[in-house]
Assembly symmetry: C2
Homo-oligomer: 359 residues x 2
DNA sequence: TTGTAGGCGTTATCAG
DNA sequence: CTGATAACGCCTACAA
């Protein structure tokens, strides 16, 4: 640290500077904010005096209070902020969002929201002109606190609310499509691994009730899409083992795959609701001497780079575009009031992790 | 957007709520900030009235002004913010930094700083309690504006300043080490590709003057370390082609490698000052039917995951730890005043991209 | 347990 | 081009 020490105490202010110079506060303010409203000479004098007195310019917070603009928007994430930087999809979303922030010259405030605390003051006290929520469960207290704030809000991957704009994809249809792909390959006996379905730390088998009551809209819809497809093909959904993991990591995918295999060693395909889980699963299967895709087909979701590179059959969703769209909805005055919901397209990507099953 | 519309106009305030209830402002304030200073009944009444009047709680900005705390720190990056999310090293730094922010319950404000503008108001006007600067050139106007602000500051990868705390690695020694490695393998004829050395958009050969005048401390030191090693081994530094690229990408690495090869087709080793450039270079060499490492050895720097996975010989630096350390220096009161400079260790990683040269 | 009152540092407005 | 006045919305001694 350096200077910091003197903040507040002894710190020169607009007023003290004005007094010192024998001019009005307006004049000093103008020197900073409207140089054209001032004779160059006077402005020069002001700046000189500022330097001499160690005045660094108008206080941002006081300015914000007066102008009623924070110059920043807040981002709320499912998890601790640091977690986002380990998740390639979140990073891509952030890239898109900051693209728009950069364009608008607006800051992005990453709001801390520890999932094991219900202290929502970080949300209540964030000095922002708007909020974006990324992939939050419906019953999250931080989300509720955010929606209570009187600022514009955009939510990504959530069911419709009239309290906020929305941006998302049709998870259900995309996953239905994936189901159809597997069915067309002849797979009828499958297993499923999915990300967390609720705020409670559940790891293990998911029953139907939990599937339908899932607070995570995205996961719920992906499972529903899968069910749509398999039931349409005459496969009983309640026979299919669905295993949930709270953590979203390669390791979680691996262990979930292991658990599914124990529940039903005879599956010919394993569906993961995310690429990260799929990659973990593939690793685990190989470790168990199952060939992918010859013995077992594996599918993912998201289209993150690592998965595409690895040839995982997946659904590619435009995560970066989603972030951009969220930013535009919030920041672009021309877009405001136009659309309250933006649905983005997804693409099915046939990789090398799926193959026909000849039963 | 939703509510937003009514902000400011008609918005209830602490004062209006108090008036409505016939109590003092203190009481309402206490209802939010010190519930124990209030009878539960009264508090309940306050909250009810708040709900009825659409009062969402104390205004964060006004609160900040009064308490002189923003509850956030700012991060300044070399480039547009969105760019950081494409750079694995920057993402890792962010992860470390946000780890500490999460712990402290403090927000992280990503400050927009377009490199092609000198409008530093985004820095001047950021409502933060401190700043972290990541990998900025010495002569950057945004950096200067940041240092002028009367708040604590931590800089990553910069030369010593008494205006801020520092966190970094010994780039020069680490690269010297890499030079020694190559020399011990018998390489004497090498080429070098490096990241941008200054704010001007230069792409191409770098002369000695530019090397030494580089505004990017890190790059300057890495080149210096290389020079140290090769000159000590009797190799004339001015014979070695050094090619700079402004962009930091795989493509830039590839094109830089191509240019080096044209300058000296006889090199037996190619040193890159970053893993990203090294990976680009390796791709380009293979495209030109040069075998790595049999025909040409290639080295990187940073130790990003993709490079380690690909077996690139590199220097692994603790980027995440660097971010954490920056956060601690700024946020942890126990750490403040202790160390003004934190140097982190690096590790040489022998990969499969280097091999002996038998001249 | 509740109220009084003074500022935090700035900018908008409007008059000179 | 310059200045006076009035908020912006809140926190926090201090007093009752």
């Amino acid at each position: 640290m350096h200077s910091g020490r003197l903040v507040g105490r002894g710190g020169a202010t607009l007023a003290s500077l004005a007094r010192e110079l024998g001019v009005s506060r307006t004049t000093v303010s103008n020197a900073y904010n409207r140089p054209d409203q001032l004779s160059p000479a006077l402005r020069e004098r002001v700046m000189k005096a500022a330097e001499r007195l160690g005045y660094a310019g108008p206080d941002p917070v006081a300015r914000s209070l007066r102008t009623r603009k924070a110059g920043a928007i807040g981002l709320l994430l499912t998890e601790q902020v640091s977690y986002a930087f380990r998740d390639p999809a979140a990073v891509a979303f952030l890239e898109g969002l900051t693209l728009e922030c950069d364009r608008a010259g607006i800051g992005l405030l990453l709001v801390p929201a520890s999932p094991d605390s219900d202290d929502v003051r970080s949300v209540t006290r964030a000095a922002v002109d708007g909020f974006v929520a990324y992939s939050m469960p419906e019953d999250d207290p931080f989300l509720a606190a955010m929606l209570a704030r009187p600022v514009p809000t955009v939510i990504s991957d959530q069911p419709a609310t009239d309290a906020a704009d929305l941006v998302g994809i049709d998870d259900r249809a995309a996953m239905r499509n994936m189901a159809d792909h597997l069915i067309s390959l002849g797979h009828k006996r499958i297993g499923v691994i999915c990300m967390r379905l609720g705020r409670d730390q559940h790891n293990g088998v998911v029953d139907e009730r939990r599937q339908e009551g899932a607070g995570y809209h995205v996961q719920r819809n992906r499972l529903a899409g899968l069910r749509d497809g398999f039931e349409a093909a005459g496969v009983a959904w309640d026979r299919i083992p669905v295993v949930e993991r709270f953590d979203h990591s390669i390791a979680a995918g691996a262990s979930a795959a292991g658990q599914v295999l124990e529940l039903d060693p005879g599956i010919t395909a394993l569906v993961a609701t995310s690429d990260v889980l799929a990659m973990g699963a593939i690793g685990e299967l190989r470790r168990r001497h199952k060939r992918v895709p010859q013995d077992i087909s594996v599918t993912g979701f998201d289209g993150v780079k690592a998965a595409l590179d690895a040839g995982v059959t997946t659904v590619s969703q435009p995560v970066t575009a989603k972030g951009r769209e969220a930013g535009r909805l919030l920041l672009d005055p021309a877009v405001r009031h136009r659309a309250r919901q933006v649905m983005l397209p997804t693409t099915f990507v046939a990789g090398t992790s799926t193959a026909p099953h000849h039963g």
